[in-house]
Symmetry: D2
Subunit: 355 residues, 4 copies
């Protein structure tokens, strides 16, 4: 177990990047060893040695109004000079696709926050624009690549050189459904419904007509019906077929947070106690999942934490359940889970720096 | 067909009451014949002849900062003196239960916005606190009482003396599901899921911990799982059994608007065209329902209108549909529908005063 | 007095344009005479005869999900063929600057919603990018151009061929301050403070970093300190010098509405009654201004109305006042005032179609 | 300098109480020494040894869904048994008035978050309902009581037995204005305007008509004009007279955060540099104030931090300034400042546990 590690973040300009920066800067194991921030930039910014971090995220400034932290011009040489051991990529799918093999060659271990390396099945991967010639299989095998959900793949993550950090919606649905399906109590062919709602930060920082305040505020809209690209993650990680789940995302008028309301039918009648037992057993070693006993979680409870919150109710005949699963899309749904993965990779306490 | 009519509103203090007042004050058939507003009040207010309407709803003031409209102390005599023909009750369930028979005795026709008279099945009615000795059956029969959804019961409403104005959630789900079930294409025993979300005005004007800004804002919460009292209306009006639908309401951080996302399975594969045809046929004579051809409705589209908006998508195998149904909970979900019912009762154009 | 008129709107795509379309489509004098909507468009849209209005603003669709209204390709010939008498320009400042003289040549009367024709003083006009060679003076003289605030310039508007519709912030401040300054009670050299707050629709429909939901929501930001371009309108219409007022706009996390909180010092002590008298006298003939007697207006009261709401409190020594002025930036602050101007231009009741 | 300390919190049920609990539970000096939580409760709760903290604030639950922390029944004996050294009172003004002398008798040092002990001048104190017989003077003298703003009174706080934690609005205005007035550059008799806006958490947790979501959302309202009870704090701590400032609070539709926009006139022309120098000198030893050099702070920047953010712009003639001051009303405006005061009282780094 290493005591500390040199980290680097590429792609710090977005919302997940800001959260990742914040978490790593305050991580108790990384004291005195701030992450290297790097990114592509124009010549002018490169000439001044990079862009001060607080120009991008004013809320990261310290009390002098200017921290010493900079986003440096990206180059593999610089990253190697810094002795980077864990590289976080918060970059577009296509760029992650291209850079991961290179980072591995340079001996870095990678936590990739994009969708580029999450999916095994070529069919599921078709939702991404990058070329898909099969060359990734060798990369993944050699890197012992794994889907980065510590609650499911703790051991593999500990050894992996490439950890594909899960999607935000996917995390919220998988954590709620996988335990029940694994326990064999769900009537899978009957079909599962996952009605999911996410805050606007999930739509990214680029100003578009859909992230305009006037579009999102005082509104609710469904999108990606029967077609959202997190669906493949659900199928592969829950272990079900394409016809077994309907997943509908909605855009909520809140800055952050996801709630998935999930409808399942059981093979045999269940009680609240029997279902709670399944969840508690499944997550017995998982410090970042909270099971709600009596009430249902609300989005507010998990926002600005790394917890995934799960609650549920059983119908009076014991045949159906409504499961409510909440998390912060930027933390457990992105950067918090990335840090959790780093902790596991380095043999540290899974929850360190995430309280 | 009457040219005009004298209306009265009891219970104008809430959000639905304010909308009802606004609609009736601007209704083209009621020009020069403003509704009588009446309510229970303390002696002091009674002594000054009632409470000026703009004290309760400042936004209803005219440009003198004070309109001449008052909420008068309630009494049957006063209502009769005013010659009230159509009485809107926006009163608590228990009060509506008590007052409706009396209003009918006085020869008034009633549109009741509470849940007191909506349900036929005693089992379904158990969700309300009022006593249920069966005496209501005679009242309803004599009054030719009807569930006040013009899209389903236009003819009965035209003749009814008592119209039970539907619940807001119920309206949103029934309008979306009834046409498909009536057409026989839905696999009802498989089960229907209605995941509904409502703005805070649906929770009423009383300040409670759940209507506190800090509770509702930046949040989403599910409630009434397997137990919301609008469920009975769904069963009776769609014509399905208690086990055939799971209905889950959520509290949205917006002032007004409802979206229900509904999941159905079909007996046989359908196309977008075949489903659209069913909806268009069903609502051919219904000016207040909009079917969306290519896109899905969003909450914003119907807020501050009396439209119910319905859109849908069909899975690639044609076996499942996601239906999105939106409306304004205070208009089509309450006061707008009440005015629509009045229009039908008086033989006027169903949409009059609702554009 | 004309009974009806043919109107046209150029620039219907923005928020003010949508409100203008809605108001004109429902205006009682324009029944059966919908406005012509015109705009520049690409060849493909031009080839299909224009863009259906509900593609741009879904909420303007009727119950068939598709109205017959189209935004036609813009040309002066088409407008003349339609017999346009009143042309509303909701176009960028530069375009208004160019098109107004042409519209006047074609014999149309113009209500221009941009800032292009509002300012007299060249210095004040420097905030706009258009060329300023002085040629506009002749245009304005010939058109009997006037600043389109009916509460100040009713007679001139009745005769004008060019009405420059005021800015939203400017309307809110001028209506509150002009009466007091005109009455001679304000210590103008002491300085006036106007702390103004506007909803996000005031920032326009273009997606920018500042209209992003994540920027505006849960936030408040000041901008344009000592430099906002509505300042010139304040100076010219209140009749004060550049050093006499500090005007600070803020971006509020709400869709629409403006509140200006205004601080003035009096030459001599005033009472609530004396100040109320001044306001009531000034607005005696103005149906769209509401003076609040006992309470202060809030943004909600005037949103979705064409009212400007004014309330105030006087310090115990009678020497200072805090005036609160609220309006809907898209209605009294833009399109509602434009329709009000049209009413005055055509000799109709100033408030017609605006209730 | 003590290494650690036993703290207690009375009044943990409100928003400030929750933040205080969170801060103390994570304070590095208090590891393994959680605060004692105490409050008045009914017999039933007392009988079960108190109320689990996560029943009051679900977001404080750990991953077992139930922490071991309880709010105990309040008694001085229990507090003494726990060895409480620093007592935080987040109680109503009247209760703090009564309990502080008793706590001092028991040898505890008190940080009082109410308004009970902040004001020196009897006139200013008249805004509070408690009896005011002058007996407090002896208490305050003996306790070396001080207004708990470390940026102004660091030394006195270090020795005080009673620290009166400032009001949220007051903190935001005093920090922005005191440095300029102390430097002698402000034309005080001319008058200062402080236009302040606060999120809804400032209005407390009790559900009232004004904290109802429907009242606060999509709205802005001014209140307490010429009469807000934080005014006394401004006068005493800035050192000005009652006629020298107009302070107007507004209720913002956001959960938390305060912005004060402040207007001052200078005796002599100033430059941005000269004013910045004054602020930087004044706060040279203050780690929790951030001076903005080029931009203005926004509410988002300081929310969920303990920073007070100050930025400003100077008019072109150098005679007037607009100062923008932002902070989180629950942190720097309440509980964060309380912890900052505790740090100073115990000789610790002022910012410890507040990063």
């Amino acid at each position: 177990m290493t005591k500390s590690a040199q980290t680097a973040v590429v792609g710090v300009t977005g919302y997940a990047g800001a959260e990742l920066a914040r978490l790593l800067l305050h991580h108790p194991r990384l004291k005195g060893k701030p992450p290297v921030f790097a990114g592509r930039m124009d010549e002018k910014d490169a000439a001044r040695g990079g862009v001060p971090l607080e120009e991008i995220h004013p809320q990261l400034a310290d009390n002098n109004g200017s921290s010493s932290l900079k986003v440096e011009p990206f180059s593999w040489e610089r990253l190697k000079d810094h002795g980077v051991e864990i590289l976080f990529l918060a970059t577009p799918h296509e760029q992650s696709r291209e850079w991961v093999p290179e980072a591995l060659k340079h001996g870095m271990r990678v936590v990739d926050l994009s969708g580029a390396w999450r999916l095994t099945d070529t069919k599921n991967r078709a939702v991404y624009a990058f070329e898909d010639d099969g060359s990734d299989i060798a990369v993944k095998t050699q890197a012992q690549a794994v889907y980065g959900m510590p609650e499911l793949h703790h051991k593999e993550i500990a050894n992996a050189k490439l950890v594909a950090n899960p999607g935000c919606y996917a995390t919220s649905v998988i954590l709620a459904v996988r335990p029940l399906v694994a326990a064999g109590i769900v009537d899978v062919p009957h079909g599962i419904v996952a009605d999911a709602k996410s805050g606007v930060s999930g739509a990214g920082k680029a100003p578009t007509s859909k992230t305009h305040y006037m579009y999102a505020a005082d509104n609710l809209s469904a999108y990606g019906v029967f077609s959202h690209r997190h669906t493949g993650e659900l199928l592969e990680q829950i272990g079900i077929g394409a016809g077994d789940i309907v997943f509908t995302p909605h855009l909520l008028p809140i800055p952050r947070g996801i709630m998935s309301t999930i409808y399942v039918r059981f093979n045999d009648p269940q009680t609240h106690a029997s279902v709670e037992r399944i969840y508690r057993d499944f997550f017995a070693a998982s410090p970042m999942v909270r099971i709600y006993e009596k009430t249902l979680p609300q989005i507010q409870y998990s926002v600005r934490t790394n917890f995934a919150d799960i609650g549920f109710q059983i119908s009076s005949d014991g045949r159906r359940a409504v499961v409510v699963s909440c998390l912060d899309n930027l933390l457990k749904g992105a950067s918090g889970q990335a840090v959790q993965n780093m902790n596991v990779m380095l043999g540290w306490n899974e929850a360190e720096g995430l309280a």
